[in-house]
């Protein structure tokens, strides 16, 4: 699946955007896998919101020279919101995208109307190991990202049939992901102490059987975020936007409807 992306310059830095729908502005920040896999969920949300879904700079391309850590993404997207003149936006992120959303929320709470995080990276719970998408084989990552056996089979088959161009993109995505998430692995040790600043209405959406960021992380976020609601998708894995697109989109949009 592909989408038509527009290219935008933000303070001299380039980004590709998928924009769709009408309504209250919503910034969608995709997870580790690149934007395409998240487009079905994005399209569902576009039925009710004016969605801006960037492809994180460095995905499918060289690592930008301004990108060293997750904070660079957070400040870049705060710039993006200003450049687009969106005002306060709903920010929805998954996995590494949720981590970026959290970093934005503590830096500039007024820029976020609401915060929605799913299968989020960003903090670390001692003794609760996360998945390792760099060290694990692609198949092992898939097994820990989906709960449904048929989905796992389909994803493994898809992985094995990737063409050279898709493989090259995968290598580029992984490289940029590693730039921000290699060490400390998928967390910022300074984030947790500032999460009280994320005081906007927030929503934690988690697959009950998340094998990359186990459910204990969802409960910890619930303790740390001042105004958080927790929705657990029963029988769902880490990649809820892919595995259970309709349920995920309904949970996300439902909360935004209540919060608006």
């Amino acid at each position: 699946m592909g989408s038509t992306l527009s290219r935008l310059k933000v303070q001299g830095r380039e980004v590709s955007l998928h924009r769709a729908g009408a309504g209250a502005p919503l910034l969608y920040l995709h997870g580790n896998e690149g934007l395409d896999d998240y487009l079905p969920a994005v399209e569902s949300l576009a039925a009710r919101f004016q969605v801006t879904a960037p492809l994180h700079p460095g995905f499918g391309e060289e690592i930008p020279d301004w990108l060293d850590n997750i904070g660079d993404y957070a400040l870049f997207y705060l710039d993006l919101i200003e450049t687009l003149g969106l005002g306060a936006v709903h920010v929805v992120g998954h996995s590494v995208g949720a981590w970026i959303a959290l970093e934005m929320a503590v830096r500039c709470p007024v820029a976020l109307r609401t915060l929605t995080i799913g299968g989020a990276a960003g903090i670390h719970l001692k003794g609760v190991p996360k998945g390792d998408p760099f060290f694990w084989s692609a198949e092992k990552v898939i097994r820990h990202s989906f709960a449904d056996e048929a989905q796992i089979k389909a994803q493994v088959a898809r992985e094995k049939s990737l063409g050279p161009e898709a493989l090259e993109n995968r290598l580029k995505d992984q490289r940029t992901l590693a730039r921000v998430a290699w060490a400390p692995p998928f967390f910022n040790p300074h984030l947790e102490r500032w999460l009280h600043r994320a005081s906007m209405p927030s929503h934690i959406v988690w697959g009950e059987q998340d094998g990359m960021f186990p459910l204990a992380y969802a409960h910890r976020f619930k303790e740390l975020l001042p105004q958080a609601k927790l929705t657990i998708l029963l029988g769902c894995g880490h990649l809820s936007p892919l595995e259970r697109t309709a349920d995920y989109a309904e949970a996300v949009a439902g909360f935004l409807g209540e919060a608006s």
Partner: protein
């Protein structure tokens, strides 16, 4: 005149190889409960004896290197092995090929250790800096997307620390030190020779051949064809930079075994070289090539080149035919070394004379045969 070195990886040769049926690799995931300190004590001392014997037998130098969290090689700190050799050898060069300095949060420690070793040995040190194997980025949690940046920066820091009058400020992106002023400074002026080891990479070739560096390019574990290609690439890069490669700028490193006859050499070495290549060296692709460790193009090339290596199942005969493994009677090995020296123009030959599970008696015979029957042939 061609220089000959005895290279040692110091593998954990006492490994119960059946464990590899479960773990598949000796890197990172093989539990260290498989390490027996009594064997460790025995092996370290045996291996040091072998390197000391190489000096007595007539080698010009001994070589060691650095690896982490693996049974493949027991030298997480090559400086310690160099220190153990420093006072038990008197003539041989001690080449560390090399230090994975960029893995350190403070690479200055490498400059300090090298300077100490160079003073203790009265200038017998040769140094080299490597990027480390992919798995080591998992072991040490160094971000592989900064591998090249950190390599160049740590090299610059160490070189300047060894050569410039301190205190001076080193202002890098990854390493920033307001006061660099190492004591001692190296014995050799301006600094110990620096080599650039590689298993074959255009990036390394170009970097080493830069006119400011002119570092000896050391091709490791390559076939004759690959070695020839990279030596030629180096020559062309040097020419482009306005200088001409001499034999002291090219080195070859690989396993070597000299037997009584071609047949007995193969019979004695076969099992051990195959364990080395097919068991000890093998690691999963994603740990061999973490993201950003090389450019996408290099990554694809390495994947193609390594796929068959990492799949295991290589035979000693094929390795010998390709020139990865120099094996045979003294006459045969002389001929193969002659190809390196005379055809490829190599000035430094580093034989890995113990490999895999090759036992002490065969290793010692190998060292003596190579020293007595191969080296003199090239010493005119």
């Amino acid at each position: 005149m061609t220089q000959f070195y005895c290279f040692h990886l110091m593998p954990y040769a006492a490994l119960d190889l059946k464990l590899l049926d479960t773990y598949g690799t000796t890197w990172t995931e093989l539990p260290n409960s498989a390490f027996d300190p009594a064997e460790g004590h025995r092996l370290y001392n045996r291996y040091l004896d072998e390197l000391e014997a190489a000096e007595r037998a007539g080698f010009d130098g001994v070589c060691i290197n650095e690896h982490h969290q693996t049974a493949y090689g027991l030298m997480p700190s090559p400086s310690i092995i160099a220190a153990a050799l420093a006072r038990r050898t008197t003539r041989a060069k001690i080449a560390i090929v090399g230090h994975a300095a960029l893995l350190r949060n403070n690479p200055l420690v490498i400059a300090e250790e090298l300077a100490m070793l160079d003073n203790i040995t009265g200038g017998r040190m040769i140094c080299a800096f490597v990027r480390g194997i992919g798995t080591e980025y998992f072991n040490w949690q160094v971000n592989p997307t900064y591998s090249h940046e950190r390599y160049r920066e740590s090299h610059d820091l160490i070189l300047r620390a060894m050569t410039e009058t301190g205190p001076f400020a080193f202002e890098g992106k990854h390493f920033h030190f307001p006061y660099v002023n190492i004591w001692p400074k190296p014995f050799q002026k301006p600094h110990p020779p620096i080599w650039a080891p590689s298993t074959g990479s255009r990036e390394t070739v170009e970097w080493a051949a830069h006119p400011d560096r002119r570092y000896t390019y050391l091709q490791g574990y390559g076939s004759f064809a690959a070695s020839e290609r990279f030596f030629q690439m180096y020559r062309e890069a040097a020419q482009r930079n306005g200088w001409t490669v001499t034999p002291d700028k090219l080195g070859w490193l690989g396993p070597v075994y000299v037997g009584e006859t071609d047949e007995s050499a193969m019979a004695e070495a076969k099992e051990h070289i195959e364990i080395f290549i097919n068991k000890l060296l093998v690691k999963p692709v994603q740990s061999l090539l973490p993201p950003g460790y090389t450019s996408i193009d290099s990554m694809r090339a390495t994947l193609d080149r390594q796929r068959h290596i990492q799949a295991g199942g290589q035979t000693a005969e094929k390795l010998a035919a390709d020139g990865v493994f120099l094996v045979g009677s003294a006459e045969t090995v002389r001929r193969k070394v002659g190809k390196l020296v005379e055809e490829f123009g190599v000035g430094h030959v580093m034989g890995c004379l113990q490999f895999g599970t090759l036992p002490a008696d065969l290793t010692m015979k190998n060292i003596e045969r190579f020293a007595n029957e191969v080296i003199p042939h090239f010493k005119g």
